[in-house]
């Protein structure tokens, strides 16, 4: 009885560990602030775009893939343009940086 319970707990802990570790691996989320240096979008019906940001801390160029409609819309009508400062979160998927959050830092 005691033993089975113990086994149960160990198994549960192992599963939890796996879940947790798995979670960390996929949610490898990067955060940065940077100025937009380039936006590549293929016209008004585009479903995806590439934006290149210059990391304000490191000066490095980072290119992210943007797929969400709200941000694409802001590229299309130029609410977001080259020179704007952006707070960006992205995940690395198959070697590509996929944007999860892409917002101007300043408002009014």
């Amino acid at each position: 009885m005691r033993n089975t319970m113990l086994v149960g707990w160990v198994a549960a802990a192992a599963i939890l560990f796996l879940l947790f570790a798995g979670g960390v691996a996929t949610a490898d989320e990067m955060k940065m602030v940077g100025d937009v240096v380039k936006i590549e979008i293929s016209g008004p019906n585009a479903k995806t775009a590439k934006a290149t940001l210059k990391d304000t801390k490191t000066g490095k160029l980072v290119t992210v893939i943007v797929n969400d409609d709200l941000t694409l819309d802001k590229f299309k009508d130029h609410r977001i343009v080259v020179g704007d400062e952006i707070r960006c979160k992205y995940e690395v998927q198959d070697g590509k940086n996929v944007s999860k959050y892409f917002r101007k830092t300043a408002g009014c």
């Binding site: 602030v33 940077g34 100025d35 304000t56 801390k57 709200l70 819309d73 009508d77 130029h78 609410r79 343009v81 400062e85 917002r103 101007k104 830092t105 300043a106 408002g107 009014c108």
Partner: protein, 444 residues
Amino acid sequence: MLLAGVAAAKEHPGKEYIERNGYQGPSTCEAQGCHPGTAKEFLDTVHWKHASPVPNVEGLEPGKEYGMKNRIYTMCNGNDIVNHLKEIPASPVTGKTKFAGCNTCHPGNHISDVGSVGKDAENAIDCLVCHASKYDFRRRRAYKDETGRVVMGQDRSKEAALSVGRPDVRNCMVCHESAGGGVLIKRGFAYARETDVHAKNGMVCVDCHAAKNHRIPTGFDPNNWASDGIRVSCEDCHKETPHKDGDLNRHVARIACQTCHIPRTGGAIAKDFTRWTQGADKFYEPTTLSKEANETTPVYAWYNKTVRNEPHFIGPKGSREEMGSRIYPFKIFEGKAFFDKKTGNLLSMDFAPPMSTGDALAGVASAAKTLGIKEYEPVPGWQTIYFGSTHLVTKEKALTCFHCHSRNGVLNFRALEYAEKEEEKLTNASIYFDKMAEQQKEEW
């Protein structure tokens, strides 16, 4: 109604005229007997004046109009007057300047500014920012003209004018999303399929905020004072007994729809205007703590649609005894800024000095000068604001029996004026046990 809007967006009868003559602004909209008097009428709305009579807030000067034009509070410690659109002094680090100010969220050109009247004002209205689906926002930027005046640009291209229609969500969100100093800071409501049942049903802002002569209806958010005198509420479209479940319907008399249907809030939770933080561009912004849509929990209070307004508190009035009061959810916000020790009143701020150098007191001094306040003694202090919570409507995550009627439930019955004995009864599984047991049986 929805259909009519879509049809109008497709086939605007003025298409040919605009193609031939181009777009000169409101005069084009009013040409040839189309939409006569619209511009003049617009000048008398909240969206132009950023002010109106305010009947439901205490402590205001009678006869005076209030709104973003002149209000002083701690979500936006400036306003159109003290923090008007201008060129911010160069950052000592980069030597660069930028344009900023509250009235960037005004559909004028800044020469004809908030509340201006007359022909020039009429001609300055940016009709297309609300009506065009192809607006190029590179043109809606502040710049200095030949005479050194700061002008807010507009897109008056033929292409934009040819795309006119009923305002879409984006037209409204251009301004409403960026209120409070950044994306979704002020109210934190992301209006999207994932976050709102109405968005999921394809509804747009103006399906609910259906304007009459450019008077846009609002509600009774304790912190949204200016109104065009018309109001919108959930009950305009839904019956007061909208549920199949009679137990839910019985609650509507004392509990607002929002309380159950908007269980979360979002946006800024606190801001400090006494301490500005330097950003990557070396300009400073007030230090702000912000959360995403649905990341924060509301506070619940009785509300009779009149507002307690004191230097350290803006929020709902109401009580359990009063039958006109209902329990509403509020997004709570705390702001730190300077108060005048002499009068106890909150002081306002011109953002230009602190934006450039981080010196918050220089901002207070500049605002005091604009307002003609000669003597004041600034001391830091906090103000609590209750914001109404009316978007982010959900059906699936709506609060139900056990969310409220349990010991660790969302309502603090004692704070809501229920006696200890009543609380004991109201936070007991016996209230909902049979019902939920029955539901559970059905579900499995």
